[in-house]
Symmetry: C2
Subunit: 115 residues, 2 copies
């Protein structure tokens, strides 16, 4: 047995943008905190999203013009920055998805050669 038991999925650099974009696209506007919660839930116990990773990612994406943040009040009456995906963001998402599929395809191709 391996001596560790946590076995979290660590992000592959560059994957986070795809994940965030996709999440915003399907679930609509979200704020960082909520996003983290949703994703963690979807990912079961395997992925723990670092706040210190997520926030910079959102800033990055906003600077690129792929998402846009607006301050609003939460259901729980707190100030939160809700991010919405932009048109450019949708295009970006498509590209990132394509990129992912390519790499995944390549890796799978290698992984399949079990001979």
């Amino acid at each position: 047995m391996a001596s560790e038991s946590k076995e979290r999925v660590e992000l592959l650099q560059g994957t986070l943008d795809l994940i965030v974009l996709r999440a915003l696209h399907t679930m609509g506007p979200q704020h960082a905190y909520g996003l983290a919660a949703r994703l963690e839930q979807i990912a079961q116990p395997s992925l723990t999203l670092n706040q210190g990773t997520l926030y910079p990612a959102l800033v990055r994406l906003e600077q690129k013009g792929w998402i846009k943040g607006t301050w609003q009040r939460t259901e729980s009456n707190r100030e939160a920055k809700y991010y919405t995906i932009t048109k450019a963001g949708v295009r970006g998402l498509e590209k990132q998805t394509e990129r992912w599929r390519r790499l995944a395809g390549l890796v799978d191709k290698l992984l399949l050669n079990e001979g």
Copy 2:
């Protein structure tokens, strides 16, 4: 249509180790140069492996004890460092593969929710 036509796959950070390990595992001992050629061939025109990325990766893997390099003569009579995967490397490969599958599964789960 997108305005560009090359669309190379850039590596997701952390993927290279998996690829190299897998390649060595299935094709047996290889030197860096040959490895690059083989991989590029497998990946069609989509992946261009950077030498500047591959060499450090091999050093890294050797330091971890996952691969072992020995100098030998090539068919073309040149000195080359042939890398072989070690037992620890095989275990590492399994872990990396598992890790990849997890992340790929997660991303795919997200990607499937097309609205």
